[in-house]
Structure formats: C-alpha cells, structure tokens
Amino acid sequence: MSQNPCARIACTLALFRGVSERRVGTATRAARLVSLRSGDALVRRGGPLPGLCVLAAGSLKLSVSARARDERVLGLVAAGESFGEAAALRAVPAPFDAIAVSDAEVLAIPVDAVRLLLRRDTAFARNLLDRLAAEILRLLEGIEAGMLQRAPQRLASYLCTLAGADGAGERRVSLPVSKTVVAGMLGVKKETLSRLLRDLSDRRLIAVSRREITILDRARLEGAR
C-alpha cells in the first residue's frame, strides 16, 4: 500500500474503482490536498482549476452567476464525489465557482496525470465516462427545470427527490444545506423560497420545522403548482 496520503484517499473513490493501486499511486504522485474553511473558494469561475478534483471530506457547492446577484447553484458535492472532470479534460479554466459550505478537504489531481491515466487504464476510462455522462444528464435536467418549470414545481420536485423513490406515507426529509443555498439551487430568492415553503405548509402538503421538512401528502406535492 502506498504511503502517499493522496493515493490512500483516491483508492477509496468511485472514480478509481477497478484501477490498480500502482496506477492510482502514479496518478496521484503530483496530487495535492487543499484544506478549505467553510466559505472559502477553491476556485472562482475563470480561474485555473487545480486539476480533476475529488472532495475527500466536507461539502462544497458549485455555482455560476450569469449576472451579479443572480447566483445559480449547479449542485452540491458530497465527500467521495469528484467534480471538474470536463474542464480538467479540456484544460479550460474553471467554469464555476467552487465554494466550501463546511470545512472541506479537496484532492486535486493534475490534468496531465489524469490524461495519462486515461490513455492507459480501461477501468478509469470507463469510470470517467460514466461520470461525464451522469453530469450531462444532470445539466440537462437543470436546464429543463430552469426553462420550463415554475418555481413552486421546482421546489416540489426537489423535495420529492430528497425523499427518495419510495412513495406514499409521511416522510421526513432534512435540507442538506442552508435555505440560502437551496434557494440558489432552485434559482429563486431566499424570501421566495420561504414563501413557497409557507404556501405548501398552508396547503398541508408539508410541515416545516427549520431544516426538517415532513412530507404529508406526496401525491399532491408531486402535482403541486
């Protein structure tokens, strides 16, 4: 087993599943760990991405802002997940802001090492393709949600996503991040989010207690307008 702490972390990640320890060791030889405090930016849009990034610990949000004060959260990254694959492969500047929403540790693997591994390792290529494809699907869903659905529908479908697949009955979910971040993710103002949550609880579709939300009537929530 490699002594390199970066390699030890990388070996546990989905992106390196099926890749030999030796190759993971080589790929992460020049990798570095970046420690972030909550609120720190790993990178801002247009800045140099430190490579293909994997969140070793903590949580992080990715966002774009087409205009000042119009932030749009692309997604939240949880520990063990990678991000920035597409930009790293294409060697372009960061297409998003990456901001820690809790204390976090990011493993950054330099682009050259990623490309070299992609030339040599089938399992890595396959994992990377899966990640890129999943990301495309997520972006398409985001575009569709932004273009076509209205804010109440976006909130309702977000809550249903949090609740998971199994349907009927009461279900309690808790918002994984602050309401401000959730509002950004849904592309609405924080006040709008609060109003929408109030509307839904007035209609007895949900009950809200801070970040804890109980879904009272999933069927009607799914059809909420």
Binding site: V64, D70, R119, A133, L139, G146, M147
Partner: protein, 237 residues
C-alpha cells in the same frame, strides 16, 4: 448488403469521434451499424425511449429539443454531418432525455449500443475520444445553463460569437447560420421577430452585416462586450 457496409464504413472513417482509432476497430463497429434515413420533420429519437445506439450524421442535419406542446419547443442543439448523438444515453443505458428531429432529408449511421460499450472496454483511444466528446458536451450545456437566463441581446451576441469563424480577410470573422432564422430563434429561446429586430439593431450599430444566412462580423470585440455585459447594458446603445 456489401454496398451498405461500404457506405457505413465511409461515414465512420470520417467521424471525428473515431479519429485515430484503428482500422480494425472501425471495421468492427461498421459491422454492427445500420443506415437510417429520415425525412424532414421525422422524429429519430423520442424522449423517454431507449436509444438503440450512437448515431452519426452522414448528411443532413438534426435538432435536439426538450419536447413541449407544439410551438413552444426548446431547441437545445443543431447538429450537422460528422457529428454524433445518443452517446450519453448509451453510456448510462438510460432512455433519451431529448427528442432528436431531422431538419431535412438526413442519412445517419446507428452504431449498436452493445458494440459501443464493448469497444470502450477494448479500445482506449476510442474511450478517450468519447470522454473528450462528453467533456465538450458538458461544457456546452453548462454554458447553456448559464446563458439561459440572460437578456436576448446577450444571448444572441454570445451565440454569434460562438459560431463565428475567421473570414478570408485577416482579422475578420463571419458566422453562417446553418439553419433557418426560425430555428435559431427557437435555439435562443426568443421570438423570431425579436431575433430579426436584434439582428437589425446589431447591423445598424455597425457590429454585423447580414446577407441571407451569412453574417459578417464587423466588430467582434463589441459583440464580446455585449455577450458579457451587465444587466441594464444589454441592448446595444
């Protein structure tokens, strides 16, 4: 049969996705491919349906759209000869997120999904080409997500800049609309009249010169400034 095989191989040989991939591998993909012909307006792939494979456009063009009631579709992309679609759905083994519709008489080659997946396992060059293609798509969709909410003048400026190519004279650029203005308008999510008005405004400001579908770009820097401009400064002064 032999003629069809020849045709398929000819199309695959020219595909950027297969650049640098060994002749043997291309031949193998060709044996697992079929020619598909679509007439104008025909839906080649429907949202929610399984995609039989990766499609390569031999000639003609297609649009990809998020399906909505007629008249309010959202066109996400316009693809021409030499490009491919269906890669994401094949990778994920998932149904298509998009409708793909032929814009004119179009000939395609469909490479069977199982063969594409098997080739990823065996041919690293193919896997790498596919990864780069998906990364490019990622970047384009991210840009779409970002510009989706911009005022229409900024969207048009960004679009023109993205399709502009260097013209014969050094320092000059030209953009050629590959499709009708109605479609470009749908692509940008604006009304056709708005597109026409914006093109007129850009022209009278000396930014562009429109002649049919060809747009000579006179001031690419000004266009870039509009594309990146702050709210309130969206309309060219």
């Amino acid at each position: 049969m032999k003629a069809a095989m020849h045709l398929v191989k000819g199309v695959l040989d020219k595909l950027p996705l297969l650049e640098g991939v060994s002749a043997d591998a291309v031949r193998e993909l060709a044996t697992q491919s079929a020619v598909v012909r679509s007439a104008r307006g025909e839906v080649i792939v429907r949202r929610g349906e399984r995609v039989p494979g990766v499609y390569a456009i031999a000639f003609g063009s297609v649009k990809t759209r998020l399906p909505r009631p007629p008249g309010s579709e959202v066109v996400l992309g316009l693809l021409g000869a030499g490009t491919t679609f269906g890669k994401t759905a094949v990778m994920l083994g998932a149904p298509s997120q998009l409708d793909v519709v032929a814009l004119g008489d179009t000939m395609l080659v469909a490479i069977r999904a199982s063969c594409v997946l098997a080739m990823i396992e065996r041919n690293l060059r193919f896997a790498r080409n596919l990864a780069l293609a998906l990364a490019e798509r990622n970047q384009a969709l991210l840009a779409e997500l970002e510009t989706g909410k911009l005022p229409s003048a900024q969207r048009l400026a960004a679009y023109l800049e993205s399709i502009a190519e260097p013209a014969a004279e050094p320092g000059r650029f030209a953009a050629r609309l590959a499709v009708s203005k109605t479609l470009v308008a749908a692509r940008l999510g604006i009304k056709k009249e708005t597109l026409s008005r914006l093109l007129r405004e850009f022209a009278s400001d000396g930014l562009i010169e429109v002649s049919g579908r060809t747009i000579a770009i006179r001031d690419v820097d000004a266009l870039k400034r509009i594309a990146a401009s702050a709210p309130g400064a969206s309309a060219p002064a």
